[in-house]
Symmetry: C2
Subunit: 222 residues, 2 copies
Amino acid sequence: MDQAIWATLRRNPFFGALPEELARQVVGGRGPTPFAKGQVLFLRGDRADGFQIVIDGWVKLVRQTPDGNDAVIALISAGESLAEAPVLLGGVHNVSAEAVSDGRVQRIDASRIIEAVKGDEKLAYAMLASASMRLRTLVDQVEDLKALDNTQRVARFLAGLVKRGERSARIELPYEKNLVAGRLGMTPESFSRALAKLRKLGVTVDRQIVTVDNVERLRGEI
Amino acid sequence: MDQAIWATLRRNPFFGALPEELARQVVGGRGPTPFAKGQVLFLRGDRADGFQIVIDGWVKLVRQTPDGNDAVIALISAGESLAEAPVLLGGVHNVSAEAVSDGRVQRIDASRIIEAVKGDEKLAYAMLASASMRLRTLVDQVEDLKALDNTQRVARFLAGLVKRGERSARIELPYEKNLVAGRLGMTPESFSRALAKLRKLGVTVDRQIVTVDNVERLRGEI
DNA sequence: CGACGAGTTGACGAAACTCAAGAGTCGTGG
DNA sequence: CCACGACTCTTGAGTTTCGTCAACTCGTCG
């Protein structure tokens, strides 16, 4: 297997916890599956018969609402995995996954994982850690949605992209503004306006690049 | 230990998965701890040195925002547990817990649980199931917040309280309207107005009792 | 060059929050 | 038994925020 792919897999908390040999065994001989922008990886309600680790590109987890609007639950990038919990518990997916860029995923059979987990309780911890992390980000999202207005959400989102300890920063938005807006639960127009409001706090935007003069000032606004 | 308490503990997915004897061992000789309305069980940032299962009463998980607003993340009642994930992972609480009524919790040492989990990978599954369930409710919440307006959220909340298969129902709100409003991410005033709007769909409210003439009509509104 | 998509900006209306006042309920104490 | 205050909930009025619709800019790509 390609070394770069392997390195990405190992960045995943689940695979990081596996001993090298066992990890290779779990993956099996299968190579990564490419996907194209717009492709649906699975739908809500599908049986979860394996989980997938993103190698390149971006995948969004969404809930479709009856009136056609998407609620973006999470955006997944390289090294992160999709649907650990339903796989292990033998359930169905409770969100849909759709590619928002071209990329690749490594698919991994449920049965192999379950077998591996049986053999090593450290893996169970790793799964828990992974689920726990997702829990945390969801809690953050719920808090944001309930307690912050659009501008504050954008400010927090930007602040979250700044590396710890930095005073000022040049941030590259990880994906299209359209998607950022969705992830933050607002329309693209509102996102644009929120950025405009943040200009007087020393935030400037050019294309995909956002520069923040003073991160503290941004944080103070939340 | 009191039989009723024990029965409540066994309703918890984690404890339901434990063999009887092991469960008793994990709990130890300790009895439940009473708490009073308004009491803080733990604060965000506290070290998580054990988890707690609610025996009676209600506990809310909240995030305080800098400007004093609470975001209610979840409301926990008898049989449900607090803070499984951070305990197992040896972390800190990422939400605060505050009692919204008098009640009792059974505290359980982290070390005992970790030991038990090491001995039996089924427990890890149980924890995962528990985390997964919480994940799902959070995903639901995120979807609701992003895609539904206040009235629709109230409608969905009420519909969720109706037992499956019932056509009309008499629902007792599980806690104060104030709290319901917070849980749904709106102000008490907005909650009240939303209920008023639902009146023309056959929803009547008296005190804590809500009656729904036709559940389908309610669901159709979402 | 022209078509297209992403992003921005403006105008407008709907939805929700805030502030404020009033109704109803409950417990306490006289 | 009643009066009072505390509390919850409701209702009204005014304001802000946000989404929608639409026009327009700008860069990309055929």
